[in-house]
């Protein structure tokens, strides 16, 4: 790590603090919405005829809140702390950063309201209507500008791998978000027919590939060597992981469309590159795990390190699942089932979400200058989320396999509903666990920022 501990830290870190709070607050909303939707799968008449509480309106709200409200905000908090630190300078403009936080929150709040009222473009991960799309793109552009100016003002010549990932993740997301939301068509936000599906899933997959994964990898690359008090294992693997991620991840969106009439050669590209994902994934993981080799004690003693390290294990699991699901033979069973929902939960909550939380808990003492308000609450939240996400993975995988195999052997969707009922019940109870954990997390983060005596309890 290239940091200068002697340099007095005069930065206010207002932007990082703002994103910490943003992430914690939207996590409550995101998990509450997810929990409510999960109950509705068990008790569909629960919310009666209240339009904005319909499962089908809550579903996109949950997904977008998790992606953009909770996880992206949490990772941005870390980015706004780590990038200036690594460059031995201060953020170019905290004012602009705070404005970005406000704009970001306005966009997310507008997303919640519009989706609740049924204003949607109806395309997964690209539901938000055009004015909000513009807000999101502007916010990312401000993030990019602010960080690029910080890079320009840097006192440290060498860019650490965290900086590569943050810069690339931001600029590439600006492009893929605009492309995937067909931002040049304000009315529909869509193309027509099969090309619409291809562009949608190109973007849909790159939300994970070019936004969440690079940001999360950036945080892991920062935290693990620091917690382990050791230099990064390999610069070469960093390079390999970084470039291969951008080359390979961008190819694979069409593996969502293997059973749809899209050009066969494109499916072949998607399947082959989905398997090739082993290169960026393992280059990154080997690099991190070799850095952490023999240092598990140090990691388990640091709440940020703990979240982040478990996040890398989840990344391993979600990547194996992802590569498997891209195989046409596996997909015959898993496509359209809860298996895919399980995959999404390991990826977004287990990997990017746990890393986001780890980042927040790691930087909080540094940006406030005081210890975390409560180590106990943070540890408690860690266990709740770990149990929750492992539980989600197990029940959703089982119910997905039940669905897929039943359909494949000729059962109708309707007849399989009673078979997956109990898994939906367990899924909802795990949702409650995650929701409660988000309340504890918010309380802890809020108290750490605003009402912290600074004593170690």
């Amino acid at each position: 790590m290239s940091e200068n501990p002697t340099r007095p830290d005069t930065a206010t870190y207002l932007t990082a603090k703002g994103f910490c709070l943003t992430s914690a607050a939207w996590m409550i909303m995101a998990t509450l919405v997810g929990f409510t939707a999960a109950i509705e799968l068990v008790a569909p008449d629960l919310t009666g005829n209240i339009a904005w509480l319909l499962f089908s309106r809550l579903r996109p709200m949950h997904v977008n809140l998790v992606l953009f409200g909770f996880v992206t905000s949490g990772l941005l908090a870390s980015a706004f702390y780590m990038v200036p630190r690594l460059l031995r300078t201060e953020l170019y403009s905290e004012q602009l950063g705070v404005f970005t936080v406000v704009l970001w929150n306005a966009a997310i709040a507008a997303m919640v309201v519009t989706l609740a009222l049924g204003y949607t473009q109806g395309r997964e991960y690209a539901e938000m209507i055009w004015p909000i799309d513009v807000g999101i793109v502007v916010a990312f552009s401000l993030v990019f500008f602010n960080l690029m100016m910080t890079v320009k003002n840097r006192q440290e010549k060498i860019l650490y791998v965290t900086v590569w990932y943050v810069l690339a993740g931001t600029i590439l997301t600006i492009c893929t978000y605009s492309l995937g939301n067909v931002i040049w068509q304000p009315d529909s936000g869509a193309l027509a027919g099969i090309p619409d599906a291809i562009i949608l899933w190109f973007y849909g997959h790159n939300v994970f590939g070019l936004l969440l994964t690079p940001y999360a990898a950036a945080v892991v690359y920062y935290i693990i060597p620091q917690v382990c008090r050791t230099p990064l294992y390999s610069h070469t693997l960093s390079l390999l992981g970084f470039w291969s991620l951008i080359v390979i991840y961008t190819h694979i969106g069409t593996h969502h469309l293997l059973q749809v009439p899209v050009p066969t050669w494109l499916k072949v590209v998607a399947v082959v590159d989905s398997i090739a994902m082993v290169i960026p994934v393992m280059a990154f993981l080997i690099n991190i795990w070799y850095t952490a080799r023999g240092k598990i004690g140090l990691i388990s003693g640091d709440i940020g390190g703990k979240f982040v390290f478990v996040g890398t294990i989840m990344y391993f699991i979600v990547s194996i699942r992802g590569a498997m699901m891209a195989l046409p033979d596996v997909q015959r069973v898993t496509h359209f089932t809860h298996w895919v929902v399980g995959h999404a939960h390991v990826g977004v909550l287990g990997w990017a979400g746990m890393v986001a939380l780890g980042g927040i808990y790691f930087i909080l003492p540094k940006i406030t200058g005081k210890p975390l308000f409560s180590q106990f609450l943070a540890n408690f939240q860690y266990w709740m989320i770990l149990i929750g996400v492992v539980g989600f993975t197990i029940v959703l995988t089982i119910s997905g396999l039940i669905q897929g195999n039943a359909w494949l052997s000729g059962e109708t969707v309707y007849r399989v509903l009673p078979q997956i009922h109990i898994y939906n019940v367990v899924r909802a109870s795990l949702g409650l666990l995650i929701f409660i954990s988000s309340l504890l997390g918010f309380y802890n983060i809020f108290r750490s920022l605003f009402s912290n005596s600074g004593e170690i309890p």
């Binding site: 509705e40 799968l41 569909p44 008449d45 009666g48 005829n49 339009a51 319909l54 499962f55 089908s56 309106r57 579903r59 049924g118 204003y119 949607t120 109806g122 997964e124 320009k152 860019l159 590569w164 810069l167 690339a168 600029i171 590439l172 492009c175 492309l179 529909s188 869509a190 193309l191 027509a192 027919g193 099969i194 090309p195 619409d196 599906a197 291809i198 562009i199 949608l200 390079l239 961008t250 969106g253 069409t254 969502h256 469309l257 749809v260 009439p261 899209v262 494109l266 590209v269 015959r332 496509h335 359209f336 895919v340 359909w407 109708t412 969707v413 309707y414 509903l417 009673p418 939906n424």
Partner: protein
């Protein structure tokens, strides 16, 4: 390799644009030449408005419109073709199949079935976990039903013609009186089926299975005591059949079986051949015959070769 800001930013942008040209622009050149399929037609204004409601209420999160070669259920008769989707913007393939695929839903049921189903899905499908859509005002509901009835486009139109034709015939029969209605229903079952008594014995276990199936599939329309007064009844015309009137009117196990298997097009009675196989249909038929009709022909001749079970 020296990672300067320019290398990171411009390098990754170059990669992205290269990949976009391979996985977006190149396939676009390919797919933009797609020709319309045999079933493609333009949607009416009502259908388009209904489609907007389908999108704004998030139907796409549980219903796919993507029939695959491995599918068996609703719509599986026709494998999806690229030319089916030409007028879909956005395309509504879906990613989860919590409810059935709707590619070919148009004309599977008459409009009044949909009215009951949207009011509360459990009225027509007791095990459904779909949310109720009663909050949609009637004119919106009408548009949504028009869209759903157009799914499958030209194929849906053919099925809708069938629904309209048989709706008229079944209403005429219903309005001509109980005897005439029952006679009409029986007439429309092929002769061979009419004469077959239930080949399965009405065992205690079989009747218990029949009850379970009745509650999972039939209860919403025909009601808990088989008098046709289930919660869907107020929405349906002709109303669901009251089984208790069938006694002494020429009912047979074969007739019950055939009508459960094939449904009665034009009425809300769907076909269950995809969901229930032979033993399940005989079991629920026995249950209806024994408890609601009070006239059961199980254990009657001709029985043919003795069954190996029991």
């Amino acid at each position: 390799m020296k990672m300067t800001p320019a290398v990171v930013v411009i390098g990754s942008l170059i990669i992205l644009f290269t990949v976009v040209s391979v996985v977006i622009i190149l396939p676009y050149a390919d797919t933009s030449k797609t020709i319309p399929s045999d079933l493609l037609r333009t949607r009416t204004v009502m259908e388009e408005k209904g489609r907007a409601l389908y999108i704004s209420n998030g139907c796409v999160y549980c219903h796919t419109q993507s029939i695959r070669s491995i599918d068996w259920g609703l719509g599986a008769e026709r494998l999806a073709q690229a030319g089916d989707y030409l007028k879909d913007s956005p395309i509504l393939l879906g990613s989860q199949r919590t409810g059935p695929d709707l590619s070919q839903e148009g004309g599977e049921h008459p409009d009044d079935w949909h009215q009951a189903h949207f009011t509360n899905p459990r009225y027509t499908r007791p095990l459904s976990i779909m949310p109720p859509f009663q909050f949609l005002k009637q004119d919106n509901l009408d548009m949504l039903i028009r869209y759903v009835q157009s799914l499958g486009l030209k194929n849906a139109d053919l099925r809708m013609e069938r629904q309209t034709l048989w709706k008229k015939r079944s209403v005429d029969a219903y309005e001509s009186g109980v005897n005439e209605n029952v006679a009409w229903l029986h007439e429309n079952v092929p002769r061979g089926w009419r004469e077959i008594p239930t080949p399965y014995p009405a065992s205690e276990a079989g009747l218990a299975r029949g009850e379970k199936i009745y509650q999972d599939f039939c209860f919403g329309c025909h009601g808990p005591v088989g008098d046709g007064m289930g919660p869907a009844q107020p929405f349906l015309y002709p109303p669901p059949l009251n089984f208790t009137i069938l006694k002494g009117r020429g009912i047979s196990g074969g007739i019950i079986y055939y009508q459960i298997m094939n449904g009665i097009t034009g009425t809300a009675m769907p076909y269950f051949k995809r969901e229930l196989e032979s033993e399940k249909i005989w079991d629920v038929g026995n249950y209806i015959a024994k408890y609601f009709i009070d006239q059961i022909d199980a254990d009657q001749e001709p029985k043919g070769i003795d069954a190996a079970y029991e």
